[in-house]
Structures are given as structure tokens and as C-alpha cells.
């Protein structure tokens, strides 16, 4: 069963067609990679799915329910988390406060609850522990190293227990040791039942980690399959070398 189903999705920016009838599906429980040359529309797909951009056409279904047209906060509330290129965290909040910002279900409850205490705080500390960054819980986000920010961003997204997480270049700008740590965290979370869709340029990372790989070029899906199949697909080689 596929958790996320994108069909015939399209988006234009002025005269430029960024996403052009893109269809893909993310199987529940998988780690799916979305690759393609620069400008092939991968990040735009993320922005369309998470409600940051309005679509021009097509359909997006999450657990068979249409989510097209919902705002980013609603999309997150339904159980789709995302990270950004270049790790975005709240620089003037501490790491722990960063963890407590996410809101799964808004409403008066959320407004009135004292977010900084109680079991949510415990859960946040556990999550920081899991990512091995609990020692910086009291440090301001802006003072963290880039690697710590990447881990914190992922940890914070996990706070509301999303079922699907979209990772935008999880390996971007990260040293090899940390890369292996991030891959391990993703694998463990996946083992707990979280589905991942990730955009990545580091082929080694993608081929090692992903169960499924989807290749995009010029806003369209040109290939999909197991990492081993993708590696030998001539169309994929063309897309990269021709681009």
C-alpha cells in the first residue's frame, strides 16, 4: 500500500514549468529516494506536498485522502513532517525549546498547555538522547554546529510522531562520520515504522539507504525502481551526464 500518492502533479513559475505531470508513490514503511539533476523539480515537489506552494494541477493523496490545497501546518498535523535544505531551526530558542515548538493538533488545548513541562518535555529529552545531542538541550539554536542543527531539525520534526517525513538533502554539507550517524538514525526510525521520502545528491548515501528510488528530470519522473536497477538504467545515466 502506498502512503503518499502523487499523480499528474504540475507547477509553473511564470513561463518555467518546474513540475510537469509528475506521478510517484511512496510505499508505507519504505525509505524512498528522489533523485535527479539540479533543477529537475525535486524540492518543488516537496513544497507542493507540504502545502508551501499551490499546485497548478494534479492530485496529492496521503493515506488515500486528498491533501492538495491544505496549508503547511495542516499537512504537518496530518502526519507529514519535513526538513529543509541547509537545516532550519529557531536560532533564538534553546534546543529543547526547538523540540517543543511542533504542534500536531492545534486548538485551545495547545494554546493553554504549558508546553515546557510535563511528558512532552520528557519525550523531547528522550528524542534528543536518541540523536545524541541531549548535552546541548539548553544551548541556543544559533550557537549549535551545523551537524547539531541537522540532527536537531530531524529530532524536532519527529516530535509530533509523523508517519511520513520528507528530508531535503539530509546529507548535504555533512562530514562522513556524521553522514553515517544520520543514515543510522533514519534506519532506526524507519524500523519503528516511519516512512521516509528523501531528496539527495549523494548517490552513495541514497543507494545504501533507500529501498526505492525515483528519478526526476525536467519536472517529470523518468525512472523508478530498486537502487540496483536504477544504477544500471541508461536513461538515468543520460539524465545526469546530459544535464
Amino acid at each position: 500500500m502506498s502512503l503518499l500518492e502523487i499523480s499528474e502533479l504540475s507547477k509553473r513559475f511564470g513561463g518555467v514549468v518546474a513540475v510537469d505531470g509528475c506521478s510517484l508513490s511512496v510505499p508505507a514503511g519504505s525509505i524512498t529516494g528522489l533523485i535527479g539533476p539540479n533543477g529537475s523539480g525535486k524540492t518543488t515537489v516537496f513544497n507542493l506536498v507540504t502545502g508551501f506552494l499551490p499546485r497548478d494541477g494534479g492530485e496529492i493523496r496521503f493515506k488515500s485522502r486528498s491533501i492538495a490545497g491544505l496549508g503547511p501546518d495542516r499537512v504537518y498535523g496530518l502526519g507529514i513532517g519535513r526538513t529543509f535544505q541547509l537545516a532550519r531551526i529557531f536560532p533564538r530558542l534553546t534546543a529543547l525549546e526547538n523540540m517543543l515548538v511542533p504542534v500536531r493538533r492545534a486548538g485551545f488545548r495547545a494554546l493553554l498547555s504549558r508546553g515546557q513541562w510535563g511528558h512532552e518535555k520528557e519525550h523531547a529529552m528522550e528524542m534528543l538522547d536518541f540523536m545524541d545531542i541531549s548535552q546541548v538541550a539548553g544551548t541556543l539554536g544559533g550557537a549549535l554546529s551545523y551537524g547539531q542543527r541537522k540532527l536537531l531539525e530531524l529530532a524536532a520534526v519527529m516530535m509530533a510522531r509523523p508517519e511520513l517525513v520528507l528530508l531535503d538533502e539530509p546529507a548535504g554539507g555533512v562530514n562522513p562520520a556524521l553522514l553515517e550517524r544520520i543514515a543510522e538514525h533514519i534506519r532506526q526510525l524507519n524500523g519503528q515504522g516511519v516512512t521516509f521520502l528523501l531528496v539527495e545528491h549523494n548517490m552513495g548515501f541514497v543507494m545504501n539507504l533507500c529501498h526505492e528510488v525515483v528519478v526526476m528530470q525536467q519536472g517529470r519522473v523518468i525512472a523508478k525502481g530498486k537502487p540496483s536497477e536504477i544504477r544500471e538504467n541508461p536513461a538515468v545515466l543520460d539524465a545526469y551526464l546530459g544535464a
Binding site: 519535513r82 529543509f84 532550519r88 529557531f90 530558542l93 511542533p102 494554546l111 550557537a143
Partner: protein, 343 residues
């Protein structure tokens, strides 16, 4: 840890007792008048900070809600023929509620825009309201002003006292609301909006609802304070209650004390308002007080853009760290550097 908590509690109690005793310790009207206005600005700055400080959305038009609160109370008292005395104070929350309702409408439009545009739209709304107050002559009396009931039985030294306690109560209310928001998940969402609004949206913070709620709470508190002010001065004119200078004063106080902090607005108001009254008293006729005011303003923003409280807190932490010293202290080293660099 527990010792600092105890010290803090003690400090708060001393401050509270002092605040309660002002009319007893210094009963002459000249002093209590200053106290009324100072307490008024403690409340205004604290209320403004809930929106401006926490979310980073600078409103320069909060004088609109101040004036609206004053006019609301005035019209309620006149239409319902409420006798002067303590009765009018009961209607202050109603005036606040009306101001909050107005803020729902204004906020709905103004919060469609971000940062720079928001500032301008709040200014535009303030002038719109001022024009309404001037033009709806039948309702507001227009430029001739609106008079409120005047409590004749309160004479001499006592006259300012009820107003002082009303302002004190509203200032405490604003502080409690601000404190409680800062500690709630809602407040955390507001701070997240200040840091990175799109990222906040991505982790499920309903940013528009949060911003609007903060704006409405802030405006409601300002409206109540405006209502008490209207009753205190008993005669209100469009240019003097919907006064851009009132709007900018609360902003300056917050910046002086420390944007987004709890104690900053209080400190800013206590330092600035008495000085401002002195300026106006001595140099008001020559307009020179505006020059002095502008100078203070420029010095604060150019030399201490983060305000007193964060700057002093930094010094304190640095001093404590140096005292605790040792090689372990380095781990927390970069913290203040980043704090200083953050806007």
C-alpha cells in the same frame, strides 16, 4: 538554584508592596499623577510586547486601540448614563472587549502582510480610526472632544488614587498574561514565528491564528488601559488619545528595556515615562521636548539595540561563568556571541 528563586520571589513581593503603597507614601497629586501615567505605560509596554516582542511583528498603530478603548468607555458611560464614581471601572473590561473585537478585524487584514508592510498597515489603521473619531461628530463630538463623567466627590489628594490602582491592576493583569503566554506552548509558537515563520508553519504552528490571537490579546489589554485613561482625563480628543506619540512611546520603552523579555517593558516604562513627563512639563511649550525625546530614542537604538535586560543578563552570565571558571566553562562559550549577533 532554590536560593535564586527565593531571592526572585522576595524581590517581587517588595516591588508589589512598594507599588501598592505609592499613594500612601507620596499622596500629593503631582506625584500620584506621575505614578498613574507610569503604571499606564508599564501596562501598555507589556501588552505591546506580547505582539511586538514575542512574534517580532512591530505595530506602530497600537494607539488606535488605546483611543478606541477610551472612546468606547466614554460612549458607554454617556449612553447608559452611568454616574461617576467606581461604577465606570466595571465597564472597563467591556471597552477592552470592544477593542479586542476591533483588533480581530484589523488583524485579519494587517496580518495578511509580513514585516515591513505590517508596520505600515498598522499606522494606516491608526490614522483611519483618528479620522473616524474626527468625522463621526454626532457620536464622538469630533474635534470638539468627548467628555466623560467627572467624579466630583473625589477631592484633593485622593482623586488620583482609584485611577492609580486601576492602572496597577491592569499592569499586573498584562504582566500575568505575558508571563503565562511566555511559558505556554502558544508562546513558544509565537517566538518560533519571530525566528522563522515558514519553518514554524512547517512544524504545524498555525501561524495566522497564533499571530491574530496575540494581536487581539495585546489590543484588548491596551484598550482597557485606554478606557481608564479616558476616565482619568475626563475629556478626550481624537489627536490626543489616538496619538502616534503614545503608540511610539510604548514601543520605545519595550526596546529600551528589552524586546521579548518579561521585565524589560516594565523597566523601560519606569525609566522613561517619568522622564517624558518632566520633558513635557519643562519644554512642552517650546517643542524642545520632542528633540530630547528623539535624542534618547536614537541613543537607545544605536547604542543598545537589544535593550537593558538582555545586555545586563549577558554581563551577569559572563561574570558568573568567569567565576565558575575552569576549563569546563568553554563548552558554553559561543552562546553569547550568537546572542549578540541575533537580531
Amino acid at each position: 538554584m532554590s536560593r535564586t528563586v527565593a531571592l526572585k520571589a522576595l524581590g517581587l513581593v517588595v516591588l508589589a508592596v512598594l507599588a501598592l503603597l505609592v499613594p500612601v507614601l507620596a499622596p500629593d497629586p503631582a506625584t500620584t499623577n506621575v505614578a498613574v501615567f507610569t503604571m499606564m505605560y508599564v501596562g501598555l509596554a507589556t501588552a505591546w510586547n506580547i505582539m511586538g516582542g514575542y512574534t517580532g511583528y512591530i505595530s506602530l498603530g497600537h494607539a488606535a486601540f488605546f483611543g478606541f478603548g477610551a472612546y468606547s468607555l466614554g460612549l458607554l458611560l454617556n449612553q447608559l448614563h452611568i454616574a461617576p464614581g467606581y461604577g465606570p471601572f466595571v465597564l472597563v473590561p467591556v471597552a477592552g472587549l470592544l477593542a479586542a473585537l476591533l483588533a480581530v478585524g484589523i488583524g485579519w487584514v494587517a496580518l495578511r502582510t509580513r514585516a515591513a508592510t505590517f508596520v505600515i498597515v498598522t499606522i494606516a489603521f491608526m490614522f483611519m480610526l483618528q479620522l473616524l473619531a474626527e468625522n463621526l461628530v454626532k457620536l464622538t463630538g469630533g474635534g470638539a472632544g468627548l467628555s466623560l463623567p467627572y467624579p466630583r466627590d473625589w477631592g484633593g489628594d485622593f482623586f488620583n488614587t482609584p485611577y492609580y490602582y486601576a492602572m496597577l491592576a491592569l499592569a499586573v493583569l498584562a504582566l500575568v498574561v505575558s508571563w503565562w503566554i511566555r511559558r505556554s506552548k502558544f508562546g513558544l509558537g509565537l517566538l518560533a514565528i519571530r525566528d522563522d515563520e515558514d519553518k514554524a508553519l512547517a512544524v504545524g504552528v498555525p501561524t495566522r491564528a497564533f499571530k491574530l490571537t496575540a494581536f487581539v490579546i495585546s489590543a484588548g489589554l491596551v484598550g482597557m488601559i485606554g478606557a481608564v485613561y479616558g476616565y482619568y482625563v475626563t475629556f478626550i480628543y481624537p489627536q490626543f488619545v489616538i496619538d502616534p506619540l503614545i503608540g511610539i512611546s510604548m514601543v520605545l520603552m519595550v526596546f529600551l528595556g528589552g524586546l521579548g523579555t518579561l521585565s524589560g517593558p516594565v523597566l523601560g516604562a519606569v525609566l522613561l515615562e517619568p522622564a517624558q513627563l518632566q520633558f513635557a512639563y519643562h519644554f512642552g511649550a517650546s517643542r524642545l521636548y520632542l528633540v530630547l525625546y528623539s535624542a534618547v530614542f536614537l541613543v537607545v537604538i544605536l547604542l543598545m539595540p537589544r535593550g537593558i535586560v538582555p545586555s545586563v543578563a549577558d554581563l551577569w552570565h559572563r561574570w558568573r561563568r568567569r567565576r565558575a571558571a575552569g576549563p569546563t566553562a568553554t563548552a558554553r562559550g559561543p552562546r553569547k556571541a550568537v546572542k549578540a549577533a541575533s537580531p
